[in-house]
Symmetry: C2
Subunit: 207 residues, 2 copies
């Protein structure tokens, strides 16, 4: 093995650990209210460590964004690819709904980071990367839908995926904002909207 492989792996692991802790800290307090000292304390290390593994605060935040949605995206992709042919869509909606309830703070962080990216160009690039993956996921889902229904979409593929993405994004944000609304109700509305809208993509709109 190469000389630096052992230590490099160790360093990578620690970096990953710090990114994870930073993500948790950010999810709890939000971008505008979190400090490196918060993250250091939460991670059980000293302040200097953060600058040992990350060149700057911006660097750390970039790493957080880059590694952030991997888990959810991976889970969704697995669902799209491996679910049984006759029940993958309900399964997908179920996964989304579960995440909507269990990962609320992570979704909240995601909107926070997207808003920040609108002011910080270097963040915007990473955000685009994640959104591109989700768009790609939706496109594949739409193709699968077309195959199953043996019917073409009533519109351009990219337009359809953009619209589906926007709808899901907007509904997750709404669910986050309506914190007091019963979770079951929000979930039902969410699932109904996705189902209804996917169906509507196959029917032409007669003005």
């Amino acid at each position: 093995m190469t000389p630096p492989s052992k230590s490099q792996a160790k360093a990578e692991a620690k970096r990953a650990f710090l990114i994870e802790q930073a993500t948790a800290c950010l999810a709890e307090k939000g971008y505008a209210n979190v400090s490196l000292r918060d993250i250091a304390k939460e991670s059980g290390v000293s302040l200097g460590i953060l600058h040992y593994y990350f060149a700057s605060k911006e660097d750390l935040l970039l790493a957080v964004i880059a590694s952030y949605k991997e888990r959810l995206i991976d889970e969704l992709e697995r669902e799209v690819v491996t679910a049984p042919l006759d029940s993958w869509l309900p399964a997908l909606v179920t996964v989304l709904g579960r995440s909507l309830q269990e990962d609320r703070k992570l979704h909240r962080l995601w909107y926070d980071l997207q808003a920040q990216a609108l002011y910080t160009p270097v963040f915007l690039e990473q955000v685009h990367r994640i959104r591109a993956r989700l768009h790609d996921l939706i496109v594949r889902m739409l193709r699968r839908l077309q195959t199953e229904r043996q019917a073409p979409l009533a519109m351009d593929e990219n337009a359809a995926s953009s619209i589906v993405y926007s709808l899901i994004d907007g509904m997750i944000l709404q669910s986050l904002l309506d914190e007091d609304k019963p979770a079951a109700e929000a979930l039902a509305l969410f699932q109904f909207a996705v189902q209804h809208f996917l169906a509507s993509l196959f029917t032409l709109d007669q003005k």
Copy 2:
């Protein structure tokens, strides 16, 4: 007139002016990166003035949120209420599209403030107030659509408005994030999505 009416009016005007300047400053730099000194300098007043008219920074921000979307909402409501009966929907979509191009920084600020509200309960209340007005606007629009088409919605009224809101919200955010995409293209997609989706609200989804 009551004794304090003259001076009160003057003070109110100054308050409104400061809120306006603070809004511009926030729209430019974002919540996380703006300071009271920025706002004071931009307004051409000293730092102490801000604490003379607003109890705290939080107070000022609350006032900004409260007065923020009034202009757009008023314009939309006027459009819904006063537009000619046969062309109000295209007119509404046009207004939204124009705002999407001209008020980009204000829309950006709106997402920033919503994200902040997810971490600051006292902001959340104001955000809810604005969203409630927009929801109400959409409900009235849907009712008008039902009257015109002489057909009922294929779903609950509140569900429909929630979904419409989410779609528009998500598409505006997407348009903001895709800064480089040609404005005309984004606008066309936005208008198409709204039109198509409104039509789909009247058709039952089979499956």
